[in-house]
Symmetry: C2
């Protein structure tokens, strides 16, 4: 049988721009992380990889502020961690209460419904933090088996206070699932002290590793729920009884690490180094740095007359900001200008903020005063450019 | 609230061995692939990433020998591609016929059952290729909506001829799903000419990219089945109507590429470069190289008196060989010797071959005559070492 010709496009050399990733993520990786990525791969059960997985577990317990033994990273994007969180602690026909405050709640609901979980919504105003008493009212009314909340709703750029939610959930026998994809490492977070049962974050935001490997942690209560399931988790790939054994989470009960899947050594290297950098900087120093950068950025924006989608300053996320589009300025033109002139990424809105804002992210290695100055310049000149163009074409 | 101390293990510098990965996979990456991995990340919708995704689609159509428009890579391991293959073309309560010839059939069945698909087995003798007439008999008896077959059953190291299976499946209105994780690029494979409806392979075997991104392709018939589903795919993450749009597979019907998930730029770089290397070598040259290496290796083994788990030489996989353990030699001792003395990976058996064989993989950049000599030396000395030790301790 004859073989088709090799495709021409693959004969072009790989050429990539060095872009400053100041959108909602991924953020740039540090040079140390990039240096780790180029190391030759190793097997998924080689002792050196298992050691790095142990390092990662320790680093994640620190980052999440937890002693949960079932702490690990899934070999996929944060969207998969969302599915794994819901799919492990809930069974078919159980009820999930979703706080619908932006895109993440919608996606969580979609994922849950696909595996036969019943979804109720706690509808809240996008960009506004909900109140504990309203939350309790919703949990009391719906009596879910679990509740989904985004700590960092990066579609609106709200940071939702999580303290107190765990207590309410547990009062009504519900588990608390929290998405910290765009906040962990930048916003204070205490998984254990706040009674969080399942939490996950993104590798490619504050932590500054490449995407494709996603940190998660399950409380003893969540683990108990998983162990008492009557039906298997819907996916072999995200079944925490398998993954926990592979990550050697179960102490005396663990047994030998099984062959579950081929973990990406490359991404293990990157995440391990990213967590090493966080450990070296210190969690509190990282929180303080991100908050100082946010303060500088937001003060400068306010001084220049920009408005924010999230009105309450203390509920504005430290990592990603949703800045209202000035009158007469469209997001695509502004985004194109920043990219073409400054090689800087600015992003449009998403979900409830689509067409209303631009989103700028300053996190990980990009959370520096110099980056604040750079994105401000790109934004200011971009707005001027788009306005001038609009006037001259009118 | 006070923060716990940063974990000490993360203050150790990252130190990795350079191991020769001659187990069943992952195989080593080429220097060109490793160089690509260290490039700074880019966003999941940046034009440069979208261009590389287009390059990958072209490269995969070539590698699979298909013109399928729905050709892409999922952002996870090959186990996820297995789940995505089954979960997209089948709905709850439909029937999957699984050829049970080793571990992969078992895992496919597990994944299918978890999402409510009924599984029937076509039991075949491990290590022996089944016959077309027996296959037809099984399809006729069970009348499944789809059939799962491993082209490369790497647990036994059998290559199962696929030609003719598509015709039989289609005669009985079944779709044909083929796992080529350990064969694509080494064993001749013609997805279109052989009537394969869903096929996937591993990035980390013959192709020589890191694990974590997995090539897949769906025939027009498979696509039609997906489009006529009455229920949504069980996972948002692997729903091909979403992923196909993100990968811009649907031509005029595609619409703008949506934000589905954050693809790992790092792994996109690696897979693109791996496919570029395949295009440069040429598919037929790669097949010939792997077969020449297998011939040299197997002749040398036979001359030294080793036996093979797969008796029929032409059904022995070109990439990974299952070599019967000589009397008195245990796999763990042999594996430890090869690793400690030669830094060479030899692997034990898996599933039906566990405890009976060692598996040695020569694929991708490791499919060279020099690697044959190296693994032979490690094997020969290892066997001698283990036997001597056994005698001296007797």
């Amino acid at each position: 049988m004859s073989v088709t010709n090799a495709p021409k496009e693959l004969f072009k050399p790989l050429q990539l721009p060095l872009r400053i990733l100041t959108g909602p993520g991924p953020s740039n990786c540090s040079q140390r992380v990039l240096d780790a990525l180029k190391q030759q791969v190793l097997g998924h059960l080689h002792p050196e990889i298992l050691q790095l997985m142990d390092d990662i577990k320790a680093g994640l317990r620190y980052a999440f502020q937890t002693v949960n033994r079932l702490t690990l990273a899934v070999s996929a994007s944060a969207h998969v961690a969302m599915e794994a969180a819901i799919g492990n602690v809930l069974e078919r026909d159980e009820k999930l209460l979703v706080v619908k405050a932006g895109l993440w709640g919608e996606r969580a609901a979609d994922m849950a419904q696909r595996i036969g979980i019943h979804v109720d919504f706690f509808h809240v105003e996008p960009g506004v933090a909900f109140k504990l008493e309203d939350f309790e009212e919703a949990v009391k009314r719906h009596r879910p088996a679990a509740v989904f909340v985004a700590h960092s709703e990066s579609s609106t750029c709200l940071v939702q206070p999580v303290e107190g939610l765990g207590e309410i959930c547990h009062k009504y026998d519900a588990l608390l699932i929290v998405d910290t994809v765009a906040s962990l490492g930048a916003e204070p977070f205490f998984a254990d002290a706040w009674g969080v049962d399942v939490v996950y974050t993104g590798s490619q935001k504050v932590l500054g590793a490449p995407p494709g490997i996603t940190p998660m942690s399950f409380s003893p209560l969540a683990e108990k729920k998983i162990r008492s399931r009557k039906t298997p988790v819907h996916s072999f790939n995200w079944d925490m009884t398998w993954l926990g054994r592979y990550w050697n989470c179960f102490e005396a009960e663990n047994g030998p690490r099984p062959y579950h899947h081929t973990i990406s050594a490359t991404l293990v290297y990157g995440l391990r180094e990213a967590l090493a950098l966080l450990a070296e900087e210190g969690l509190e120093a990282s929180w303080a740095r991100h908050h100082a950068v946010k303060a500088k950025f937001h003060e400068a924006l306010a001084k220049r007359g920009y408005g924010f989608y999230v009105e309450q300053p203390r509920h504005r996320l430290a990592t990603v900001s949703s800045i209202l589009l000035p009158a007469g300025v469209d997001a695509p033109s502004l985004i194109a200008f920043a990219k073409d002139r400054y090689n800087v990424e600015i992003s449009g809105g998403l979900g409830p903020t689509a067409g209303k804002v631009v989103r700028i992210g300053l996190m990980g290695v990009n959370a520096t005063p110099g980056h604040v100055d750079l994105v401000l310049r790109a934004l200011e000149e971009g707005v001027k450019h788009v306005k001038d163009r609009t006037i001259s074409s009118a």
